[in-house]
């Protein structure tokens, strides 16, 4: 029996964005780290090995925070979004570890989304591609879109998520969601210039909340859904990009 795979996942903190000659450099402070151990349904959280150097008391406090977060993750005493983020961040990191050439990632890494909070994996992949792999924006969007398929169940899962909740998990993800929303609205604008009412109805971000179904439908290269979804919430998007939609 082999050793279980371990991956560090960071929660919260502050992202510092600095534009340099190399492009955008992102650094973090105040994050809480947990180890994701195992795979799939067996994925569990552990506190990482304590850092002994430096301020022992601060290190102890940090470890305590990590332990507490790990316990809450393992016991399920967390929000669905936090759980989804934990799994998504681990999944994405491992996929990229397994595929050193990230440009070919869609060939080996394919995931299905169902329109709920697990859609944060899309944003996480995008974030890592942009911030760590230094992919170009459009290239990263294409790769992320090709890695994920949206398959909406007959009964919708997940409600719009407050951006503040996403920000508490990964600040950069909110920046990216807003950027994706801008791009999405621009495409709507190109089709219905000036029609803010229609654009607003189909936006990803509305009233400080992110619609992960709309986000996934906007980014994923393939969308499977019922005809009710096509005729309902995804109607505008369907008329925008009919080729990527398939009826369940």
């Amino acid at each position: 029996m082999g050793e279980k795979r371990k991956t560090i996942v960071y929660f919260g903190g502050t992202a510092h964005e600095l534009w340099t000659e190399r492009g955008l450099e992102v650094s973090y402070s105040g994050r809480t780290a947990v180890l994701a151990e195992g795979d799939g349904d067996e994925l569990r959280a552990e506190a990482p090995e304590p850092q002994r150097a430096g301020d022992v008391k601060a290190g102890y406090n940090q470890l305590a925070k990590c332990l507490e977060l790990a316990m809450r993750l393992n016991s399920g005493a967390i929000s669905p979004l936090s759980g989804a983020y934990f799994r998504a961040a681990a999944l994405v990191q491992r996929a990229l570890e397994d595929n050193p050439d990230w440009r070919t990632l869609p060939a080996t890494f394919r995931q299905e989304l169902s329109g709920g909070a697990e859609g944060i994996a899309l944003i996480e992949l995008l974030r890592v591609l942009l911030d760590e792999k230094r992919a170009a924006w459009e290239e990263a969007l294409t790769i992320a879109g090709d890695c994920f398929t949206l398959r909406l169940p007959a009964l919708r899962v997940g409600a719009p998520v407050p951006l503040a909740a996403v920000e508490a998990l990964q600040m950069r993800d909110v920046t990216l969601i807003n950027a994706i929303n801008d791009r999405h609205c621009q495409r709507l604008w190109d089709k219905w210039p000036g029609d803010w009412l229609r654009i607003g109805e189909s936006a990803i971000v509305r009233d400080g909340e992110a619609d992960f179904t709309m986000l996934a439908a906007s980014l994923c290269s393939r969308v499977f859904c019922t005809k009710e979804e096509l005729a309902g919430p995804l109607r505008a998007l369907y008329t925008l990009e009919p080729a990527k939609f398939a009826e369940l």
């Binding site: 089709k191 210039p193 000036g194 029609d195 803010w196 009412l197 229609r198 654009i199 607003g200 005809k227 009710e228 096509l230 005729a231 109607r235 505008a236 369907y238 008329t239 009919p242 080729a243």
Partner: protein, 666 residues
């Protein structure tokens, strides 16, 4: 102007009943609700400002209503072209919500900008139903069809006997004259090919097969030139065309084919060579020129110094202008028991196209309308107007002829420009849709459904030539135009685009007007090259036009249904027409149904989805409800036989390059 972060949240869309109810132009004194959305609840108070000419400004307080701010008003009693905007008070100060994107949507501004348009028309404004449902065919009478009776040749001899230097083309296939033919080096259109009333009569079966319901004849009265816009005698037909009896027989025969005849009235001026002016002494009359103040017609004209200094139309000495307020002129042309206007209606005409209507005074136009309707209540009055007929400003005032008291309808030249721009790739489907919806919203509905939607006429290049060459012939000399040859590949492109343009022309509300020879693929630059004898071009589209005419005749949805306009992609435009509840937009009986026209001008197949249920494409909410109630599930293309599926108002299509579809939905 500022771009406010509130822009996406504070909006107004005149094509949505939520913002503008009822949609479009409204009758005087009717109730209208105008509203804007306030998605951030940022507005503290709001005022609706309605403005018009002569300093008109009306202010209405607005009230919050479920996320919107609204004002319900009684529109003014005087028909007028008006504008409105919204003055908003926010925490941060005052902002204006004004028109942007061609008037289609709102834009927040720091100062007052362009207003949204609001057309108020006369209560009870009606236009003839038969006309709204018709397909029009425009004929330049000298150039459509000869007959074997010798009428034309005898007519030419009569002109020559009067002393006129006219020419008769023996061969129908000769080129039109265009070279200077006067000592001053000008070109005068004095060459005749000899088309006649009987010639037209012999082609009525052909016209019926095209689905034609009304023939518009360019002037037919006796005149010196081949275009006859220089009337010599208003009461007599030109002898080259035939006699009064020939005309009456033509009208009667046309009636048997379900076709009516409309005439061209040229009333802002006469010919100098006329019974009324008689500059050349070709008539035995005491004309204003040859007899001076002794002439009963002297007061018609504006002599600065008799006889050679007089007002003339666009300074053409051959076209002396008349004073339309002269009682004698008014009686002879309009009001008299046997006036020109009434006499020709009695002879069988079904209406008048008024030449340069925007140069006739509004009260003269109103008198003409009254005379026409008193003589024949269902006769039509159509005006030559080149611009937006609602906002047209001429001779120092805003014209009101399109608001119900004068013209039933106008020549829709802006439609032609917008269509040619689209099919010549000078604009895209979004721009065309914006234009088409603005016409839907800004013209009084009775006029909108009667607009003469033309692609060609005697005054502009033929559509085939425009679409083939993508040139503006106005920048070319007559000589250049005469020598220009439309290449085979250009003609092929022109034919392909003309087919698509015709589909939209027949699918949109209004009266599709086919200029003689457009259906046979004739080319032609500007006058006189657009007036060549009727012939078969290299790539005729007669069957195409027949199919479109049949579709329009057999589907009430196409002839009188409500309209929605879509632009799913830059190269693709779609038009939906629908009737539900057994009634058309005017409450007339009509067969339920829906027809969807789709054109793809581009060079690639387009995968598109059209959302028929979109709420701001031209349909009112009751029309949308009616459309939903039709329970559409599919359709068959009347052009190709191809089928399509409709699910929940969504139509997914694959439209090949440079192609059109006309789905009858069911």
């Amino acid at each position: 102007m500022i771009v406010s972060e509130l822009t996406p949240y504070i909006t107004h869309d005149p094509a949505r009943e939520r913002c503008h109810c009822p949609l479009g132009a409204v009758p005087a004194l009717s109730t209208l609700r105008l509203a804007f959305s306030d998605g951030r609840a940022a507005v503290k108070s709001a005022e609706l400002i309605v403005s018009g000419d002569d300093g008109l400004e009306l202010k209405y307080d607005m009230v919050p209503e479920g996320g919107d701010w609204a004002a319900t008003i009684s529109v003014p009693e005087t028909p007028a072209a008006l504008w409105y905007s919204f003055r908003l008070t926010l925490e941060s100060g005052e902002l204006w919500l004004c028109a942007a994107y061609g008037g289609r949507f709102g834009q927040l501004m720091s100062t007052r900008g362009e207003g949204f348009r609001l057309t108020v028309h006369e209560r009870g404004f009606e236009t003839p139903e038969w006309f709204r449902r018709s397909v029009m065919y425009q004929i330049f009478p000298d150039r459509f069809a000869r007959d074997g009776s010798g009428t034309a040749r005898r007519g030419v001899e009569r002109h020559i006997a009067m002393g006129r230097q006219v020419k008769y083309h023996e061969d129908w296939d000769e080129s039109v004259d265009w070279q200077p033919n006067s000592t001053e080096g000008f070109y005068f259109p004095l060459d005749f090919f000899g088309g006649t009333f009987r010639g037209i009569e012999e082609k009525l079966g052909y016209l019926e097969s095209l689905g034609v319901g009304v023939i518009y004849l360019n002037p037919i009265v006796e005149a010196r030139s081949n275009h006859r816009y220089d009337a010599g005698d208003y009461m007599q037909p030109d002898p080259i065309l035939g006699s009064v009896e020939d005309f009456e027989r033509l009208c009667a025969a046309a009636g048997e084919h379900g076709i009516r005849i409309m005439l061209d009235g040229v009333y802002s001026h006469t010919g100098a060579d006329s019974i009324y002016f008689n500059r050349d002494n070709h008539y035995r009359s005491d004309g204003a020129y040859n007899a001076g103040s002794r002439s009963p017609f002297y007061s018609w004209y504006g002599f600065r110094k008799w006889p050679n200094e007089y007002r003339c139309w666009w300074n053409f000495p051959d076209l002396p202008e008349v004073n339309e307020h002269d009682p004698g002129w008014e009686k002879l042309v309009i009001t008299g028991e046997d006036s020109v206007v009434k006499t020709w209606l009695r002879r069988g005409a079904a209406g008048w196209r008024l030449d340069v209507a925007d140069e006739l005074p509004d009260d003269s136009l109103a008198l003409i309308r009254k005379a026409v309707k008193s003589e024949k209540p269902d006769a039509v009055v159509l005006g030559e107007v080149w611009e937006d007929a609602i906002t047209k400003f001429s001779y120092g005032s805003r014209r009101k002829y399109a608001l119900g008291g004068a013209l039933d309808t106008v020549m829709n030249y802006p439609f032609r420009s917008a269509m040619l721009d689209f099919f010549c790739f000078r604009s895209d489907a979004w721009a065309l849709k914006g234009f088409l919806i603005s016409q839907r919203l800004n013209y009084p509905l009775p006029m909108y459904y009667a607009l003469m939607n033309l692609l060609s006429s005697h005054d502009v290049e033929r559509a085939r030539t425009s679409l083939a060459t993508r040139l503006d012939a106005r920048g070319m000399t007559r000589e250049q135009q005469a020598r220009f040859i439309v290449s085979d590949s250009q003609d092929e492109r022109g034919a392909a685009m003309q087919k698509l343009a015709a589909v939209l022309q027949f699918a949109l509300p209004g009266v599709p007007s086919v200029y003689y020879g457009d259906e046979t693929g004739m080319n032609g630059m500007l006058d006189p090259f657009n007036r060549a004898p009727f012939t078969m071009g290299k790539r005729p589209l007669v069957e195409w036009y027949r199919t479109l005419g049949r579709a329009r005749r057999e589907n009430d949805a196409l002839s009188c249904g409500a309209v929605a306009i879509f632009s799913p992609q830059a190269d693709v435009l779609a038009v939906l027409r629908c009737v539900s509840g057994g009634r058309d937009c005017f409450g007339g009986a009509a067969q339920d149904g829906a027809v969807l026209a789709v054109v793809n001008r581009g060079g690639e197949t387009r995968e598109i989805v059209i959302d028929l249920w979109l709420d701001n494409t031209g349909l009112s909410s009751s029309e949308l409800d009616g459309l939903r109630a039709l329970g559409l599930t599919g359709g068959v293309c009347l052009l190709t036989g191809e089928e399509c599926a409709v699910a929940e108002g969504l139509v997914k299509l694959s439209v090949p390059p440079a192609s059109a579809r006309l789905f009858k939905l069911k």
